[in-house]
């Protein structure tokens, strides 16, 4: 995790309090030259608003889409991005790394 992630977790708490559906996406594993370390997170609300970062911009769009599903279903998901999965997800990490991102609902 990055030490300065504090504000985004507070935002997740505040969004939930304000009645939003909220999801938390966290990098749980990285291989190769992944841009953000394990523990980095992204918080997403049901407007599609998000804060934080799991990849420095490469896959955030796809994570947000999946997070909206997770908010609707309540079921956590594991996503994998990287060279190997480029065709499956249509997004990849240009840096050549691979990351696994755990997406869960808050609440």
């Amino acid at each position: 995790m990055l030490n300065r992630d504090e504000d985004i977790l507070k935002a997740a708490e505040d969004w939930q309090k304000a009645g939003h559906g909220v999801a938390l996406a966290t990098v749980v594993e990285t291989w190769g030259s992944a841009p953000r370390p394990a523990g980095s997170s992204l918080v997403i609300n049901d407007d599609g608003t998000f804060l934080g970062s799991v990849s420095g911009g490469c896959v955030e769009g796809a994570v947000v889409t999946e997070a909206l599903d997770v908010i609707a279903s309540g079921k956590p998901k594991m996503l994998e991005f990287g060279v190997a999965d480029e065709t499956a997800w249509n997004v990849g990490l240009s840096c050549g790394g691979t990351i696994r991102v755990f997406v869960e609902k808050v609440g």
Partner: protein, 233 residues
């Protein structure tokens, strides 16, 4: 993540107390472990290791794959003395992600010209230190060579249980300092916590080299397990 866990996580982080969130990534099942509860936890060895490294990671336990997400506070470095060594120490510590503050009541030393990018408090330690919330996640370094400034600052560092306390001066200087601190109520355990002479013994000569030796010693104190720490010191 249950909202109760998120609230507790945010409260602990605001209080600068380390926590680890343990997640079973297959089921989403989750729990929060506070640093002070690690010793009694079934995963204590893994939790203690990840926390010491300040690093999140995966472990397997009881056939489950668990993700340990470590939330450790940003370490602070408080430097007592706006001296030449501090001019090298402050930028080095910042590059290692420490929040750095310098305290020195002598305004000729504590000038923004000498320290353009560092929070600088030109007050006596008794005034400057209480608002800084010096805590366990603080490395504390006293380098003025002036007992009037260093001594009260060191007493404050003892009271706040800083993970590293170092003071500049030879063995002889340090022996005198220990006497003065004892007279002011410091215990033997307090005195034993001071790293003096300060820094790892790498033959440092210039202020920049001394800064390297100090940051190396602080890093060892932060990251090494207790036994290896003794060997490094």
């Amino acid at each position: 993540m249950k909202i109760e866990i998120l609230r507790e996580l945010n409260a602990e982080r605001a209080a600068r107390r380390p926590v680890i969130i343990v997640t079973d990534t297959a089921t989403g099942e989750q729990r929060l472990v506070k640093a002070r509860d690690i010793a009694a936890d079934p995963l204590r060895a893994e939790l203690a290791k990840q926390l010491r490294m300040g690093k999140s990671g995966n472990v397997e336990a009881g056939g489950k794959k668990l993700f340990l997400n470590v939330y450790a506070p940003t370490a602070k470095l408080v430097i007592i003395g706006a001296v030449h060594i501090s001019q090298a120490l402050a930028p080095l510590a910042r590059s290692l992600d420490y929040d750095v503050t310098i305290v020195d009541p002598r305004t000729a030393f504590a000038s923004p010209e000498r320290f353009p990018d560092v929070p600088l408090i030109a007050e006596w330690p008794d005034t400057a230190l209480p608002p800084l919330n010096v805590d366990h996640y603080t490395a504390f370094v006293a380098v003025t060579h002036d007992p009037k400034i260093d001594d009260p600052a060191l007493l404050h560092a003892f009271a706040r249980d800083c993970f590293y306390i170092g003071a500049l001066g030879s063995r002889k200087t340090h022996a005198k300092r220990a006497e003065r601190l004892r007279a002011q109520g410091a215990s033997e355990a307090d005195i034993a916590r001071i790293h003096a002479p300060i820094g790892l013994d790498i033959g440092a000569v210039s202020p920049s080299e001394i800064a390297v030796s100090i940051m190396a010693e602080i890093t060892a104190q932060l990251r090494l397990p207790p036994k290896e720490k003794e060997q490094a010191a």
